[in-house]
Amino acid sequence: MSRFFKQAGDSDSDSDESEELMSSGDEAPQAKPSGSKPAMSRFLRTAGSDSDSSDSDSDSDEDSDSDSDIPKPKKTGLPLRSDSEESESEEEDRQGIRIISAQERRLAEMEGTGKAIENGLKINDWVSISNEFDKLARMIQRQHNVSEPIPPFYLKTLISLETSVASAIAKEKEAKKKMNATNAKALNSMKQKVRKAFREHAEDIVKYQADPEKFEREYTALITRDAPTTGAAKTTNGDAIDVDGNEDFRPVGRGGRSVALTAEGIFKSLKSVQEARGKKNTDRGEQIRILEKLLELATTTYQRIRVLLALISSRFDYNSSASSYMPTELWISAQNEVDQLVAVVASNPAYIVQELTEDYDELVERSPATEKDGIVRIRGSIISFIDRLDDEFTKSLQNIDPHGTEYVDRLKDEKTLYSTVCRAQAFYEQTKQDDPLSRVVMRRLEHIYSKPDAVVQALESSTESADIKPSITLASKGSTTGLIHSLCVHLYRTGNSLHRTRAMLSHIYHYALINDFHTARDMLLMSHLQESIHSADVATQILYNRTVVQLGLSAFRSGMIKEAQSTLLDIFTTQRVKELLAQGVHQQRYQVLTPEQEKAEKQRQLPFHMHINTELLEAAFLVSSMLVEIPLLASIDSEELKRKAISKPFRRLLDFADRQVFTGPPESTRDHIMQASKALQDGEWERCRDLVQSIKIWSLMPEAASVKEMLAKRIQEQGLRTYLFTYAPHYNTLSLSLLAQTFSLPLRSVTSIVSKMIWSEELAASLDQSSGCIVFHRMEVTRQQQLALIIAEKVSAMAEQNEKALDAKLGTSGGWGDRADGKTGEKRGEQVQERRGRGDRTRGGSRGGARGRGARFAQGLGNQMGHTSQRAG
């Protein structure tokens, strides 16, 4: 630290000179305003400091230049020092007391290196000397690049080195064995290097050796000549000149000329900020502060746009790591600035921000008058800012604990974000830019598609008050559905197939959310998305999964138990519900995720407020499975036939529950449903109903009461069916009115249910109208008959097996394709293929049950994961 200060102090004059160098491009009077005074210090200081940083980064530019020249990067040479220096300079910048110019720093560095060389000489460590000298040579090279004269210091070092090398070699010759191999090698190479350097700078050295003092004088003269008004620019020097500059500053600041001046300054500083971007030791916070000040300064539209563009991107730059999120305050100001930018550009049609423009001079003020066609085109991309803003918002929500108040506070920002998006939409509509317009509409849609009416209204209310409004608003469309519909229709018309797909899915999701099951289902089926969804990216696949799940829930809410069951079955068979919905990371039993996979997975997660409650989902699925499966189970027993289980997950749970010796009162949702299933099996529909209705999670459904009512009705009906299946063998006749009484159903619906069962031949019975009862036609099957049936069954299964085996062996050759059921043969082939495909995948084995759409679910993320794991391995 102290050394640094000392060095800095040493090179005070140098820093002045560098200041001059920097401003040398300008005329002398122009440099004046940067001569500061205490009253205006805030602005001036930063102005000064940013010119500084401009210098420093042009310097680091050169840094990188020279780095590319020399294969060995600089940072390996001096990691510690450069780091410490960085922090120091940062500190200083912040204090605003001392600003070290680039040249100053370079010199300081050089001197440091010289010191190190001296130290090396003392202990005869030629390896380190060689390294240090390399560094020094590089610095000189850089110096040369900026066409600065060679500092005398370097020549001095060179000369002293030459003598010491010579003496060392002489010594070495006298006393061998004194030096180890590496050191000797270094010494030799040092000799070469010094000789080479001598040759390069021969002229200077001769001059220097002739008269060192004169040379030094010349050197300082050379530097000072470039900038006659020394010191005027420097705040930190605290010279008396400051006072002078003070006095003529005011009039200039107020005068008309100052606009041009500040404008000129703005572009320069902008350029420097832009160049500093992405550099190792740029202080992002400082950059932002500079730009903020610049924004205050900016007077013309062009300037404002330019500064805003730079400011917003530097705000987004602030946090470069992928895992953490942007600080909320920064986000809010970025959001404000995007708003400003949109407003500025929207209100000035003569200015256009484009991603591709012709080249223009960054340092020149432009206005519609100076351009050829009267339109100023500026390079930049508003849409990417909005995308980024939205992404950062999502990221922050992903990272904030969803159960804290912070999350809620953060969520409140969605409203302003939404209005920003709406304004951008209005802007793009106004300027008729189709591609960004569809992107922005997509963003807007994604904010509202999964939200209930009230939330959308709240979000939309802000757009109403905005100065510019998009053509599609809630007010103009009348309802949320209308709003979403028109947004989606807009996206369907665009050429981008990804947007179309996502819009379609969001549209379906919305219909499912408002319980318009039929429309949603028809749209999903007509879109044929289930065929092409594998090829979509993960985010779209997640959206697809969400949509399908929501569709299942909507079927459940509307009382379509069968549909709900079959829709939800697919995702539950995979047993990775949370993962497939991007609502949590799946715990793998046999596999550990690599950190990259885990990271990728985490980035995919949806923010908490978008989640579909998985417990509710499971309850809906299990209850509908119960209503479908229990009567089926009952009918299997009565027919003594093994039928395929419809819902494997449910069966598994039921078997597990059966095996338990003691059953306590139900606690979890699953317990409730399992006990309810048992009650239903026993014909105790009332108990079953009570158990199902006492599940607490139903309260999360908006229509809990009506859903419960619907469930009660379904339970009555299915209870009746189960009862009939289970107890039919024990009755000869059964009175309909008794059944109606037992299940408290109207006689008519009992008749209807029984009739349906008879008609579909589930129940071997018929109705006796006159006496009002069911007459069962129990068919007693003898043991022998039963065996005959079984063997017939087995033989036909065997024939089937043989056909399959032959199929597999012969491939698809149509040796017997002329059979009537050629089609089924084909289908079987497909299945075989599918199974083979699953076997190839690493995790196919554990999940044999999923086929058809279930497999599709599994493939969704499974494929992706497979790829990543391959890559990792």
Partner: protein, 477 residues
């Protein structure tokens, strides 16, 4: 019954001229006030070249007002246009009616065109004159003339769009002249033209875009064409002898079923009615024509579709089928049948099939009733069938006598009951059924193996042994 009237939904999908019969029918049924319908008729006629008709309608509606002048002007215009077009068309017609020319014309349209151009100096424009004249004739109501000209045009023209358009025109003309045989042919060829028109883009749409793609989508225009065809074909199908079966055949094919479900669910009424009408009844002994399986199972299929589309469309006809075959609620079915009867009577297309519909519907009810019940009160059944007791008894006796039900059902007159005893299927029957195809399948298997070589021969042997051992068991049982 106005709420069940479909005229309003159908007319947008019909040609102006095709709508006249519908409106005329509305006047007859009196569902809507007659003068309103007349105004509609007048509005409709105003857009055509049928001035005399329009004028007479005008005079009927506004007896005290003077006929607008514009008709007179239009008439003059039309007469001159007619002469001009006729003159143009006549030139072509003269050429192609020469017997030599008629013989020289081949299948290849381009060759024909070249031939006509070389020998008679006929150009494409002149041939188009045929189309224009045909269209003009159609517009003032000379349908048979229009049909002729359009036919000739179609033979010669190479322009695909105009040919399709001529197809439609010819179909409309044939419908309006009441030539159902010709119209049916025309309908089928038009259907082929529509179905074959866009095979390639269809696949690409389903694979890539998979969305409500932009308006110029060929799939969408195909859907439109199909929708129109579905509506126009109602005229043909409900007037042709074999029409109902053909209707089911067409409308239940996947492409048209999809069309109906997507764009015009109300057509389900006609599908349902056709399914009911074609279902076999004791009185309709016209099963001389073998029916395809699609028609035989029409009721079942239609019920499935109706159930699926119930949220979109419902009327008494479909509701009747729903109640009967989904809910098995005979009481509501009976009520729906009462309503459906009226609807059918008032419907333009279904009106003439009222009796058949009722008869078939009763058969359906009694079939379902008998299959579910063991003992049926005749009086009750008569109620279900909307028949008075005495008549109902007669009807039921007839039914039992003439259908296969006769073996199982006996009437107990003393108690006024029908006893139905349906013995359960014996076990051996089901065993036989299960093993029926095995021998043939195994043979096929054997053949396949013989073809592929001796490698897989052993599997074959083992199967055939198994099958042989089964048959004795079945015999024992």
């Amino acid at each position: 019954m106005a709420e069940y009237d479909l005229s309003k939904t159908l007319i947008p999908y019909l040609d102006r001229h095709l709508s006249f019969p519908l409106l005329a029918h509305l006047v007859e049924t009196g569902v809507f006030p007659a003068d309103e319908v007349q105004v509609a008729q007048y509005e409709l006629a105003k857009g055509t070249n049928m001035f005399d008709y329009a004028v007479s309608l005008f005079q009927q509606i506004y007896p005290n007002q003077e006929v607008p002048k514009e008709f007179e002007e239009k008439r003059v215009n039309a007469v001159s246009t007619h002469e001009r077009l006729e003159h143009e068309a006549q030139a072509v017609l003269d050429v192609i009616t020469i017997p030599d020319v008629a013989q020289a014309l081949r299948q290849d349209k381009n060759q024909n065109l070249q031939y006509l151009k070389d020998n008679f100096n006929l150009t494409l424009e002149q041939i188009t004159a045929l189309y224009n004249f045909g269209k003009f004739q159609y517009s003032y109501g000379n349908y048979s003339g229009a049909a002729d000209y359009l036919y000739h045009f179609r033979v010669l023209s190479t322009d695909p769009d105009l040919t399709i358009s001529a197809h439609w025109g010819k179909l409309a003309s044939d419908i309006l002249t009441g030539k159902w045989e010709v119209a049916l042919e025309e309908l089928n060829s038009l259907r082929e033209a529509i179905d074959s028109r866009t095979p390639a883009p269809f696949a690409s749409v389903s694979s890539s875009a998979n969305n409500n793609t932009p308006a110029v989508d060929p799939a969408l225009s195909q859907l439109h064409s199909r929708t129109w065809l579905v509506h126009w074909s109602l005229f043909v199908y409900f007037n042709h002898d074999q029409g109902r079966a053909l209707l089911l055949e067409t409308f239940l094919s996947p492409a048209y079923l999809n069309t109906i479900q997507t764009s015009c669910p109300w057509i389900l009424r006609y599908v349902a009615a056709a399914a009911i009408i074609t279902s076999p009844t004791p009185t309709s002994k016209s099963s001389s024509v073998p029916q395809s399986s699609r028609v035989k199972n029409a009721v079942r299929e239609v019920v499935k579709v109706i159930q699926m589309e119930n949220y979109q469309y419902e009327d008494p006809v479909t509701a009747f089928l729903m109640q009967l075959h989904v809910e098995f609620d005979f009481e509501s079915a009976q009520k729906e049948l009462q309503k459906a009867e009226k609807v059918v009577l008032d419907d333009f297309f279904l009106g003439q099939f009222h009796d058949e519909f009722l008869e078939s519907a009763r058969c359906l009810v009694s079939e379902a009733y008998c299959r579910i019940h063991q003992r049926i009160d005749i009086g009750d059944l008569s109620d279900r069938l909307n028949l008075p007791r005495a008549e109902g008894e007669k009807w039921i006796v007839n039914l039992i006598r003439e259908t296969r039900m006769g073996q199982d059902a006996k009437i107990d007159l003393e108690k006024n009951l029908i006893q139905i005893s349906r013995p359960p299927q014996p076990v051996y029957q089901s065993v036989i059924e299960k093993t029926r195809g095995l021998a043939i399948r195994t043979q096929a298997l054997g053949a396949a193996i013989a073809r592929s070589g001796a490698a897989a021969a052993q599997a074959n042997v083992s199967t055939s042994v198994q099958v042989q051992s089964v048959e004795p068991v079945a015999a024992v049982v």
